[in-house]
Symmetry: C2
Subunit: 773 residues, 2 copies
């Protein structure tokens, strides 16, 4: 755990550091975090209260649209991946679990809404809020900061405030008027709510201030149970339930009134209400603890994390826990907008993966048995197709212990998986198989080669190898036999082939580091498979059929039906992060490659290529370069492998400038559980992990003037960009600890050893920047 | 646990006993047990393999009719409370959980059916067995004995054999032919199968011989999960699943063939099949272990109880465990039919409540948390409205440790219950609220007054008091306030009032024994409430309304709508077991009472009173006396409180003779988890607990000549009926340890101290039998 470790703050004008052990010494960076960034359009972030990597994300849901209408996918659901859309003017309630920035979704557990007046158990509609329990609200009466969210529920004149600890959400409702209040607990509400996402709900009113239970859902996670314990600060006067499922056989139950004040409720579709007599401006507080194991586990979590009713203390603790994490990089800047962008990116980067275990380290595994995370913190919600690229590499620098524990969590996953596979996209002890590749191996390899191995590295490598040999997984058997995935056997075949090849290279790097020569050789061989889908004739990666011929009617710009996923061939053809030199050669050499790359950023992509594409929109692109989605995140750095690294520099600055903004609409695409933000953090600091699994980072163009990375071992690494300005995007010279760099790369070790990296910026490219003297 | 304790076998012609510690010394009484008794019509017993009080009841299901057809209750389901009907000629499969003798049902988990030929995943119909996987069978190829069941599945030429340990069922299938075989695991099959009884199923094919998973159902038990681990004796060659629920969102799953050889399956409605290559006359064995906690728990149970593949050993062990229990009463008789009736009754008496915990004592409680039964064996399936009458009193004599543990289980239930109530009718950590009263208190009080208190007696009494003060329970608030349940407020009001009054008396007796004078006084006062529903004018117990007036249009013979449940006023008016003297006075005194009682057995009850009554049929009655259901089980003994005890004697012998027979149709009504059988055992031995909670038993007329009860402490109690014959049903004289009894009662202590009770039988009544000299 990181809460207790000693934080290092570098002094302003020296490379000396002093130990600062008290929280007061931390700079309050939370004031620069704006959780509203990304809450509009496609950022898919949520504004609610949470702590770093917290299990509870207590946040307002502005609508809960059905996943399907008349049995067909409802595209409107996409807007509500995080439950909140900035443009909305009503709030349905506050639920306790949310993904940050994902492009598919689930969760939204235990929606709570305080109301007054007539009891309404349905949310009503946005166009007619009075038809249900939802309330109008206004952004002017809304405040969001790390660990705290408040809003005025106008229809009821209730001020709603939220804060959280790792496993407990705390609500505080101040009622303007002296009246009878209801607290609705809508157990049918959920994000990406399939008709029958609810499998079962179970509720017990243990006494007049305590309610426990669980909900099982069949959503994106197929078999998912979340247990809760909910405590009220004052006694319930009356309560009841409504059920919307087929009533059960009632032969023996008809003798009870089970709808009101009957303390045991269970069924598929249940809503509860709890009534309270509230005085004028009286506060009602709630604590809702979650557990992946049991309601007893939830109760123990509550007792341990928030034993009292001191809302301000919980809020202060949440803020402190954020400052501890945000201080890991100290950005020295007078530019408030820059600080807002930077610390909001830091905030978003620390929203996941999330802690997934009780305070006693028990959690439910993939086999639905209770497991204990022995000597590590178990995490869940691995959006790996996104986060392997920059987020986990970032963690190797500023969250090494957490990253190691995340890998221990992955190994436990593999151990429990009946497939014997590492996570693909996993949440709450379920594999949802989202996207492609097996990028856990990249995360593991990156940590191994960088020496951040507070996990069983040998076992981790075995898990990688077994994962990479699961023949029935997604065309992998064909890939193993034929050297590529044939498009006629498994769609998105080129993307799969390219990503498998990269992953295989990553496995080889880990094997080499661990001295497993045979595995190294085997997987280095496999890593060359990207060559098998390169079509020399067209100059693009192109889908190949099982007869060995390339697919006809090929459109390198189309994202659909062309052998790629969430990207077109123009972008995806550049996806050989582990072997750019050969890729460039294959594509015709440096000049031709530069032309290809240039055109990516400058070409005019016709509108038709955006139709029916959720993840790629005008906001997220530059020319045909798609920053709003992940496959091209390394692309701007590829000029470093040509004679024109300066072309990387202006592209990176252009992306930083145009795709990351303050305000609700600030993000140009899904934040994808911090991957977009991690790209920002790295690029802002001037370097980027083009191929995780390599010990080197490619240099870019820092957008900040000065920043200090505080490292776990007490050292710090300072980045200085001299003569920095919006115009001076080109690097004239770079010095590592005073020594001029002759290649556009720095090693992980050079960062972790502490020191400084000084960029000298200019408005003109330096064409000989990295040439040896 | 009782398996290890020293069993006592009395010698034939002396009252001396010798310790016999080896199993070989036990008499083999299993050969007299016919599990087929009660499998026809309404006995509702099952013929399959189980051990005493075992968690697993592995038994053939001959049909699985739906609980409801077109949304309406399907009366045909009643026949299949135990899954098997003797008249049927096809078997659907073998499932692992069955209630014995109940009048409502649930369970039927994990139906297994071996087949050959074309794969069929639906059971098909009885009229067209070839339409599904079911098979024809014949009773001539069927064998059932304690712990073992076999049958020839004619359609497939498979000999199916079953045996069991406490938590594991073992199957052995011998295939006549050399062919490809299927083992169907129908996870949708179940007893009392509501349309949507299945809430969720989860299956993992761990490797080619091991499958794990669970099923959650919403049936009679509302929230019930049973976990399993299934091992095969030879490898699966191929497997798959069919699903009958709405397929889930398939966006990311469509890349897999999840229907075949995909090791992870989950959904609401699932069927699995496993294929094997079988040689001619080759055997395939299966072990299926159950757990209330987890699949890991099930696997541990399997490893502990049946680690090997030795079917004969498991079968022999099961037989031994039965003999250990059956030897607790040694019936000396040359009459094979008598022995069959007796030992089958003993067998049925030991089928429940059933063990409900893993071998490590973990189990899931009512709050759905995992609990540990510390120092006791946790039991479930408490059919208390039935079993408090004679089964639990019988256990106080021959299963004292188990009865104490059952009470510990009830206390744990009360502790976990959000209602703070002891079980009413509880199974698998669910209260199903079946029937009326709170008869746990009778079981507890009976054990306390009899000194069988290997449980926390003080806590048990507190639990009784709290249960009896749960105002919202079934008219209880009215009863507490008004002294009776008003029929206009809560139906079956007279039955409730009478049973609450008896239960209150039982609480008082326990309180007295424990020195809680205030509770004694309070509940003795409540126990008189039976008087408030006696209508002097009609001479019957009669429903009273909340205005204090009796219900008009009263029909003392009608079972429906008259203020009673499963009985009419004529029978129920005799339900004051705790105060017969006053009841007789109230009903007009001895002569008038005897006339009433006589008429009960002799009157001609018109057919119309049987219509729409599942529990009361011609087979179960004598005149208007209903033996096939419980409310009158004490009635034949009531003459003991008049000057004509001999009238009890001939009634009891008439009931024993006519209502308990060999053969599948041998039972005259639901065995009700052993209550009918316990009545038989007591009455056959010549005494009966008219009012559990009293230390005395009423004497009747033994139907045996000689029997020895082997007691826990090493003593034995012998019953001798001299001059016994079918005609000599009257008792001329009774001697306890040689001393003539002057009242028709013997105390519990006199039995438990060891000794003998000698009846001298005659063909003529002795009108002065119990008069003092």
């Amino acid at each position: 755990m990181t809460l207790a470790f000693i934080l290092m703050v570098s002094c302003n004008n020296s490379s000396l550091n002093k130990n600062i052990q008290s929280n007061e010494a931390l700079v309050d960076y939370t004031k620069f975090v704006d959780p509203m960034i990304g809450t509009a359009k496609m950022g898919h972030t949520y504004p609610g209260a949470t702590v770093p990597f917290g299990s509870v994300q207590l946040s307002p849901d502005t609508d809960t649209v059905p996943f399907a209408v008349n049995g067909r996918y409802n595209p409107d659901v996409y807007k509500y991946c995080a439950g909140y859309q900035y443009e909305d003017s009503t709030i349905v309630g506050f639920s306790h679990t949310h993904f940050s920035g994902t492009g598919h979704s689930d969760l939204g557990d235990f929606l709570i809404m305080p109301t007054t007046g007539a009891l309404k158990l349905n949310p009503g509609t946005a166009t007619n809020p009075d038809s249900g329990y939802r309330s109008r609200f206004s952004h002017k009466n809304e405040h969001a900061s790390p660990g705290y969210y408040s809003v005025l529920l106008e229809d009821y004149e209730i001020k709603a405030e939220m804060t959280a600890s790792t496993r407990v959400g705390m609500h505080q409702y101040t009622f303007e008027n002296n009246e009878k209040a209801h607290v609705i607990m809508d157990l049918m509400s959920g994000i990406y709510n399939y008709d029958d996402k609810n499998v079962w709900t179970f509720v017990r009113v243990e006494n007049d201030t305590l309610v426990t239970g669980y909900r099982q859902t069949n959503g994106w996670a197929r078999t998912r149970r979340v247990y809760f314990a909910m405590a009220f600060s004052k006694p319930i006067t009356n309560y009841g339930r409504a059920r919307y499922d087929r009533p059960p056989y009632n032969g023996f139950w008809g003798r009870f009134n089970q709808a009101e004040n009957f303390p045991e409720v269970a069924g598929e579709k249940i809503k509860m209400y709890f009534d309270f007599d509230m005085g004028k401006q009286e506060k009602l507080q709630l604590k809702i603890a979650l557990s992946p194991v049991s309601s007893n586990g939830a109760l123990a979590n509550m007792k341990k994390e928030i034993p009292d009713w001191d809302f301000e203390k919980v809020k202060d603790d949440a803020k402190s826990s954020w400052n501890k994490e945000l201080n890991k990089i100290e950005l020295k800047s007078e530019d408030k907008e820059e600080k807002i962008n930077f610390y909001t990116a830091m905030y978003h980067a620390f929203l996941g993966p999330t802690v997934y275990m009780d305070t006693d380290h028990n959690y439910t595994g993939l086999d639905m048995n209770t497991h204990n995370a022995d000597n590590f913190t178990n995490y869940t919600s691995f959006s790996l197709w996104d986060t392997y690229r920059a987020l986990h590499p970032l963690f190797n620098i500023i969250q090494p212990k957490r990253n190691s524990d995340m890998i221990s969590s992955m190994i436990a996953h593999q151990d429990q998986s009946v497939h014997g596979m590492l996570p693909i996209w996993s949440h709450y002890a379920n594999e949802n198989w989202c996207m492609i590749g097996y990028h856990s191996v990249s995360v593991i390899a990156d940590a191994i080669v960088k020496g951040n191995t507070d996990f069983d590295a040998e076992k981790a490598l075995e898990a990688c190898v077994q994962t990479a040999k699961t023949r029935y997984y997604d065309g992998l058997g064909y890939y193993m036999d034929m050297g590529y995935v044939p498009e006629d056997k498994s769609s998105s075949s080129v993307s799969k082939t390219l990503e498998y090849a990269y992953d295989d290279w990553a496995i080889a790097q880990a094997a080499k580091k661990l001295g497993k020569e045979d595995i190294y050789i085997e997987f280095m061989e496999r890593s060359k498979n990207y060559k098998n889908v390169f079509d020399l004739k067209s100059g693009f990666m192109r889908p190949k059929l099982s007869d060995g011929s390339f697919k006809q009617d090929f459109d390198a710009l189309n994202t659909h039906g062309q052998g790629f996923i969430e990207g077109n061939s123009w972008n995806y053809s550049l996806y050989v992060p582990h072997d750019p030199e050969n890729m460039i050669t294959m594509m015709g050499g440096g000049e031709r490659f530069i032309t290809h790359l240039d055109s990516l950023f400058t070409m005019d992509l016709p509108d038709k290529y955006f139709e029916n594409t959720e993840d790629i929109t005008r906001e997220g692109i530059i020319g045909n370069y798609v920053h709003g989605n992940e496959p091209s995140h390394h692309v701007a750095y590829l000029y470093n492998w040509t004679d024109s690294p300066w072309k990387s520099q202006d592209k990176i600055r252009m992306i930083l400038d145009s795709k990351y903004r303050t305000g609700a609409e600030g993000l140009s695409g899904n934040d994808d559980f911090g991957q977009m933000s991690a790209w920002y953090i790295f690029s802002t600091l001037g370097f980027y992990p083009v191929a995780p699994g390599s010990i080197n980072y490619a240099l870019g163009s820092p957008s900040i003037k000065n920043a200090v990375i505080n490292l776990k071992n007490g050292a710090s690494f300072e980045i200085i960009a001299k003569n920095q300005s919006a115009e001076n995007v080109y690097v004239e010279k770079v010095e590592l600890n005073g020594k001029t760099l002759r290649t556009p790369f720095i090693s992980h070790k050079s960062i972790m050893s502490g020191g400084n990296l000084t960029f000298y910026m200019s408005s003109e490219p330096n064409p000989t920047l990295y040439e040896s003297e």
